[in-house]
């Protein structure tokens, strides 16, 4: 079975020069926790996760202990956002990400998920264009379906 049969295509995509505000807007209301940065031809340039966005919005010098000591200052987050307004997608995207090609086998995807510990993997056409995404939920659902053939309780 090929991964292209279980991938979904409801992806959030942005260009490499999308602003931080634009990235936050793009992530709103999407099922996927990933934003895909693509070029004009639809080729994948990088991936931005919700973790990457939180990292930009959290000063590196602030640890959880110090954060507890801070007064309730709602403006703090707003000030950090204001300071990072100039940040664009290509500044924070992870460009050397793990990908699958559309003709990759199901088992290859299963092994990649366990090896890399990621939640979702982008699926690319052979020319590098982004086609869709396979996530762990889809993988498990497919496994349940497969096991149902040999295990009646799972039918």
């Amino acid at each position: 079975m090929k991964v292209s049969t279980i991938m979904h295509t409801d992806l959030a995509t942005v260009g490499p020069n999308e602003t931080l505000i634009g990235l936050l807007c793009s992530m709103r209301g999407k099922a996927s926790r990933l934003l895909y940065v693509i070029d004009a031809a639809g080729r994948l340039l990088g991936v931005i996760s919700s973790y990457d966005l939180l990292k930009v919005l959290t000063p590196f010098y602030l640890d959880s202990n110090m954060a507890r000591a801070m007064g309730e200052d709602e403006n703090f987050a707003a000030r950090i956002l204001e300071e990072n307004k100039g940040t664009v997608a290509k500044d924070i995207m992870v460009s050397r990400c793990v990908t699958l090609f559309e003709d990759a086998h199901f088992v290859e995807a299963e092994v990649l998920f366990t090896e890399k510990g990621v939640n979702a993997l982008p699926v690319l056409a052979n020319d590098g264009r982004l086609l869709g995404e396979v996530d762990r939920g889809a993988m498990v659902a497919e496994l349940i379906c497969l096991f149902g053939r040999i295990c009646p309780e799972l039918r």
Partner: protein, 445 residues
């Protein structure tokens, strides 16, 4: 063998200064070459007191790192920093002043890098809350750290090395160096008040942000804090009396580290993993390279030149003392003060043997601690430690704050650091020179 050892020494020095390759790699490769070319035997490198690795320095550093690593987990340093900012009532200049004093005192008891690594993140947060440029604060902390660290035996690696080489104890450093450091700090902070006192002003609502912070929640493990505070106190007492008790400082520190490891619930695997092993191996490599130059007579040659230049006599080494404080100061601003002191230590030992040996008949530590020789050791310590303030690469603490500031989006250029560092370096070295002259050659304290 002479040129092989000298070649390894100068090449290693040049590559370390260039910063093209990590200094630990250079030092270890140089050490390996020193052994492979048989300039030194392995026995010389590991067991000879004059030529090999100074294990006192190594174990003192490792032990202090272990203790600080455990103490850091209590959150006490963050607590002190926030408390200090609140004592300053959020006034930006008073925050700078109190942070400088806290950093200097902490650096006298801990290593400088640890101090700035612990305080810089809090400083960045305070500056963010006050909406002021964090750069003057961070540079002030680096400078304070280098100045404060000069006051004690354990405050800065050059002092640890000098103490071990000359057999000097903890109280001797405090008695002889702390007055110079207190004077330097007072003068420096007064100058800082003239420069920053008026310039650093913020609105009252920004000060209120600091006052709203709750420092009490920062103590993560009160039990561990009590234990580590008690062990640190005992260790400092041990340092104060190690001369009387005839213990090496490394023995006291190792005792403290072992006791704290035993009392704490920390996993030794994690605590030991956090020791700065690259620094430790840098020292090991450096000792072996310098040992090679001592063995082939290169240091003896330099010592003869220095004697011809400064004309020390068994009665007075005034010129040498005055030259040394400036030479060490300027050299340490340009190159790392650790290899500099590692080179100067055997050179001064050789000079003491040549100048004082024949007339006094003394040997070993008795010779090195001869009253004529003592001001020279103090001038080396003052020059090497305070000189590090001159440039962004002069001391490890400077490198750390420059890196952290850049990471926070506030780049400190080499020149910007020098604008702060060079005047402070010249001022404190000049104060030290005046202090050395007055105390040891006029007032004879």
């Amino acid at each position: 063998m002479f040129w092989v050892a000298v070649g390894i020494f100068f090449t290693a020095y040049a590559v370390i200064v260039s910063e093209k390759i990590h200094k630990t790699k250079v030092a270890l490769f140089g050490a390996a070459l020193t052994l492979l070319t048989k300039v030194l035997t392995q026995h010389d490198a590991l067991h000879d007191i004059d030529l090999g690795v100074d294990w006192n320095v190594i174990f003192l550093l490792i032990s202090m790192m272990i203790m600080v690593n455990i103490m850091t987990k209590t959150g006490v340093f963050q607590y002190v920093a926030i408390k200090a900012a609140k004592v300053a009532k959020g006034d930006p200049f008073r925050v700078m002043l109190i942070f400088a004093v806290v950093t200097a005192v902490a650096s006298a008891l801990l290593d400088n890098v640890t101090t700035v690594l612990l305080l810089a993140p809090v400083t960045l947060l305070i500056a963010k809350e006050l909406e002021v440029d964090p750069v003057p604060y961070l540079i002030t902390e680096a400078l304070a750290s280098n100045i404060g660290g000069t006051a004690t035996l354990i405050g800065d690696p050059p002092n640890i090395m000098i103490a071990s080489k000359a057999g000097l104890d903890f109280m001797a450093f405090i008695y002889n160096l702390a007055p110079a450091i207190i004077i330097s700090m007072v003068v420096w902070l007064f100058v800082w008040k003239l420069i920053f006192g008026k310039r650093l002003q913020v609105r009252e609502d920004l000060k209120a942000r600091i006052m709203a912070m709750n420092e009490k929640v920062l103590i993560k493990d009160p039990g561990l804090l009590k234990k580590s505070g008690a062990v640190m106190g005992l260790t400092i007492l041990g340092f104060m009396f190690h001369g009387v008790l005839h213990f090496e400082p490394a023995t006291v520190a190792l005792g403290g580290a072992a006791l704290l490891l035993l009392l704490s619930d920390e996993d030794p695997h994690h605590v030991l993993a956090e020791v700065e092993w690259s620094t430790i191996f840098f020292f090991i490599g450096l000792f072996i390279i310098i040992g090679g130059t001592v063995k082939v007579g290169f240091i003896e040659l330099l010592s003869s030149k220095m004697i011809a230049l400064t004309g020390p006599t068994p009665e007075s080494m005034l010129t040498l003392t005055m030259v040394m404080v400036w030479f060490a100061g300027i050299a340490s601003a340009i190159v790392d003060n650790i290899p500099f002191v590692a080179t100067m230590n055997p050179l001064l030992v050789d000079m003491a043997e040549k100048i004082l040996g024949p007339s006094t008949g003394l040997k070993g530590f008795d010779l090195l601690q001869h009253p004529t020789m003592m001001p020279v050791w103090w001038s080396l310590a003052l020059g090497a430690c305070l000189g590090g303030n001159g440039t962004a690469i002069g001391a490890s603490a400077n490198v750390i704050v420059v890196g952290l500031s850049e990471k926070a989006g506030n780049k400190i250029t080499f020149l910007r650091f020098m604008k702060y560092g060079v005047p402070v370096m010249f001022m404190t070295v000049a104060i030290s020179m005046a202090y050395l002259y007055l105390r040891y050659y006029v007032l004879h304290w």
